[in-house]
Symmetry: C2
Subunit: 209 residues, 2 copies
DNA sequence: TAGATTGTTAATCGATTAACAATC
DNA sequence: TAGATTGTTAATCGATTAACAATC
């Protein structure tokens, strides 16, 4: 299969979201240049991105079939398969993630939460049970959790990550601004607000020049 | 000044966080290869990144002074200057952002929130007043808000963004999975969970091959 | 001194952009 | 047919990696 870069991967959910919205408006087909214009990408990039994942080919003049495209992107992104995940750290961010409805769209099911706080353990958040971090090993196995979503304080992040790694987790979605060390067969993907903000701030300050 | 890519910019907060943690442990200086090993970057990349922002030069054998490096990165990232921001959309995510303590570290001050819900308007969250979205124009001016942090439902994201843009906002930090259209002098930086998850999921599924 | 690390220049790698013939 | 859009190949651009002399 053609290799797909991370940056390219990041664009597919954006295409998908846009295609779904125009399908709702009754559109049947769309061209790469039209998508490019709407999403502020280059038309060449859109063309190339879509070619990689599309099974049917586009038609000159009219473009591509929207239904086909949506199905192909979903297939490519594994949205049709359900992946089970757990939230570690039920603070403000953890709670927000436990309530986030968008996850269902991309085949991610949050099955439970973990915390160290006795006041939280045994309670539910959005219908999801909160367990003690000491139960991580048991619950990962019992519930078939594949992904750990880290939203704990920085100081305990590596420790909690290790518990999941030892429990046989496959991937860690890390919202903590710390570099998590893991065996190479455990995938770690970071969401770092400081990094994102650094880009925004830098552009803001340099535009002023 | 040397041009710095987005990817490179994203790494500086990671360096900074690590340097702060080892300074706490009493370290005085550190070498590029040591940082690289700890953060899983290549040593060449770390060396080059640090050269771009460092004012003093490193010393062969011992490396660079940690205090200097920390100060230089903070300076480069504008962490010493306070930037005022407001949260639009006080749902679960908006509340989490209103409570997030880390922002202060990078010079970001959340001054207030905006929502459409009358039950929220006039209340406070973490000591920050929640105003009606109809007050955006007034409050942006009155409070000197430079950045709008979008955490509203997708369907209203562009509308709310437009209100901030018309109010003269400089940047939008967009947590909504929608492409926001803005004048080119308004900087838009996206935090897209679906994109981040797509990368994780893809690596997860391809590792299994 | 010897060795680790620096700064800097060159080589490689990969992604994006441009070009263009093919086609509905 | 004419024109827009496709698929594909080549050119450009930029970032990362490698190489190496200088130096504490």
């Amino acid at each position: 299969m053609t290799k797909v870069s991370d940056r390219q991967l990041e664009r597919y959910p954006i295409y998908l979201r846009y295609l779904l919205s125009i399908r709702d408006s009754g559109c049947k087909s769309i061209s790469a240049p039209a998508i490019a214009k709407e999403l502020s990408f280059s038309q060449e990039q859109v063309r190339k991105d879509l070619q990689v994942i599309a099974r049917s080919s586009g038609k000159p003049k009219s473009g591509r079939d929207i239904d086909d495209l949506i199905e192909d992107i979903k297939q490519f992104l594994n949205y049709n398969r359900l992946t089970k995940a757990a939230i570690a750290g039920v603070g403000h961010l953890g709670k927000a993630l436990l309530h986030y409805r968008g996850f269902a769209d991309f085949g991610l099911e949050i099955v439970c939460g973990f915390d160290v706080d006795n006041a939280l353990i045994g309670t539910q958040e959005n219908g999801k049970e909160i367990y003690s971090v000491y139960q991580i090993a048991n619950k990962v196995e019992e519930l078939g959790i594949e992904i750990a979503i880290l939203a704990v304080p920085s100081r305990s992040a590596q420790d909690i990550a290790d518990r999941f790694i030892n429990a046989g987790i496959k991937g860690i979605w890390n919202f903590v601004p710390i570099h998590i060390k893991a065996k190479e067969d455990v995938i770690v993907e970071n969401v770092n607000l400081a990094s994102s903000f650094a880009v925004l701030q830098h552009k803001l300050r340099n535009e002023e020049l």
